[in-house]
């Protein structure tokens, strides 16, 4: 099993919250080191020692996954003092460790999920942090995109993408009964990211696991897959094939 080159550290006032969010994120990112650092021995609060240990553990795991460049650690926090404690820890650790750690300014749970998936996809630290921070506004940035797949004529998102070249568009019905829930969304997002061609699914970014999940696309729903530019046709075909195969749930 390969270890991803970016590790996550989850700092929460609650041990249960950190561990719970770590579990959720790990489901979609099995090769990413996700270290929970929540609560204090006395109960609710953030523990300097716990955060220190977690960051050192994350840094070591990222190092293992990345080799020479040392990898990176993305830290998610819940409320204000979790940030303060983390910043205090970063002042206390070795400079070369601190240089590879970044705080993610995004929502704790959704940010952890988005960051974990991006790390699983092989993202570097900048990309993982960006994914975690974008999780804060993905729901409002998705301004268009058909929910039912059928009435998508002239969707403006696709028009923007088509400026780079011929737009390719195909539809595919979700055959698995639960539709585009977490696991298939993660598989689909990973596949789209690997293809390296900008591609939309029902108007949203196909490489964004959160945007895909937000579609709430159920079994039987017809997805519109669209891409443009070099490799668009092959990418759309690959995505259609993946969806049609039912994500192993059919």
């Amino acid at each position: 099993m390969t270890v991803a080159r970016v590790a996550l550290v989850l700092v929460s006032h609650s041990r249960a919250a950190a561990e719970g969010v770590a579990e959720i994120a790990a489901q979609m990112a099995p090769d990413v080191a996700i270290v929970a650092a929540g609560g204090m021995p006395e109960g609710i609060g953030t523990s300097f020692e716990r955060v220190l240990d977690a960051i050192e553990e994350g840094a070591a795991a990222a190092q293992e996954g990345s080799g020479a460049d040392g990898g990176g650690v993305a830290v998610l926090t819940d409320l204000g003092s979790a940030v303060l404690t983390t910043e205090s820890v970063l002042e206390a650790v070795d400079e070369d460790v601190a240089a590879r750690v970044r705080l993610v300014d995004g929502p704790f749970l959704e940010g952890a999920v988005a960051a974990a998936v991006r790390a699983q996809q092989g993202g570097d630290l900048d990309e993982v942090v960006t994914a975690g921070e974008a999780a804060g506004d993905w729901s409002t940035s998705r301004t268009s995109g058909p929910r039912d797949g059928a009435a998508s004529a002239g969707a403006p998102d696709a028009a923007g993408a088509a400026a780079a070249g011929e737009a390719v568009r195909r539809t595919v019905v979700l055959r698995n009964p639960l539709g585009l829930h977490a696991r298939p969304a993660a598989l689909l997002a990973r596949a789209v990211a690997d293809l390296g061609v900008p591609l939309t699914v029902d108007g949203v970014d196909g490489a964004s696991v959160l945007a895909l999940m937000a579609l709430g696309a159920a079994g039987g729903h017809e997805l519109v897959v669209e891409a443009s530019g070099p490799g668009a046709a092959e990418a759309v075909d690959a995505v259609v094939r993946l969806v049609d195969e039912g994500f192993g749930e059919v």
Binding site: H13, M40, I44, G45, F48, L79, G80, S81, L84, E87
Partner: protein
């Protein structure tokens, strides 16, 4: 009267004492506009500091005492107060690496403490935080020292200003920290961090008074 390690240790002990005495008050203040753990956290933190100091060799420099306070608070106080007070004491320790403090030294200590709090928490005056006690305390200390006050007098001036600053947080609407979630409803309550800051700075003045009384 100069303020040496004996004073610094007395300050810490006095602080632990007043924090324990005011634990329920601080908890109550924090319950009204926070998460209700400020008194508990500080009490635990300063009790741990006393434990650390009791078990160790007497330090040589004032800054050594403050550094022990900093690292202990940082690792035992779990809310925002841990990193904030921890950084305050840490920065203060850096500028007090001497055997004793004169008036200018006291001013430097307080200035560094405030700088640490602002660097860590990024609050401005008026946001209903401990900064609203420390800022007037530093100004008062600077003025007193400029007017030729003794080290002890500088601390007294700082303590009075910190207490007035804490009271002045009552009508403010919090725009920082957990209280900011309450918005307008945070007005009409004293900020717990400002209240505890006033206790800490008053303890420093009392420890200096005791020191000069026995000199």
């Amino acid at each position: 009267m100069s303020l040496d390690v004996t004073w610094a240790l007395a300050w810490v002990r006095r602080t632990a004492q007043v924090v324990a005495e005011n634990r329920d008050l601080l908890v109550e203040l924090d319950r009204q506009i926070g998460d209700g753990d400020h008194g508990e956290n500080l009490n635990r933190g300063f009790a741990a500091v006393i434990g650390k100091l009791d078990g160790a060799e007497p330090p040589e420099l004032v800054g050594d005492v403050l550094k022990t306070v900093a690292t202990t608070l940082m690792s035992t106080v779990g809310g925002a107060a841990g990193p904030l007070y921890g950084t305050a004491y840490l920065r203060a320790a850096k500028v007090t690496g001497v055997a004793s403090l004169d008036a200018a030294g006291v001013v430097a200590l307080l200035e560094a403490g405030l700088e640490g709090i602002v660097a860590r928490g990024k609050a401005q005056p008026g946001e209903k935080t401990m900064v609203d006690a420390w800022t007037p305390a530093v100004t008062a200390a600077q003025d007193a020292a400029a007017n030729g006050a003794s080290a002890e007098q500088v601390l007294v001036a700082a303590a009075e200003a910190a207490e007035a600053g804490a009271v002045a947080t009552d009508p403010l609407v919090a725009t920082k920290g957990r209280a900011s979630y309450l918005g307008e409803r945070s007005a009409g309550h004293r900020d717990p961090g400002a209240a505890s800051s006033a206790l800490v700075i008053r303890a420093a003045a009392e420890a200096a008074g005791t020191a000069s009384a026995t000199a």
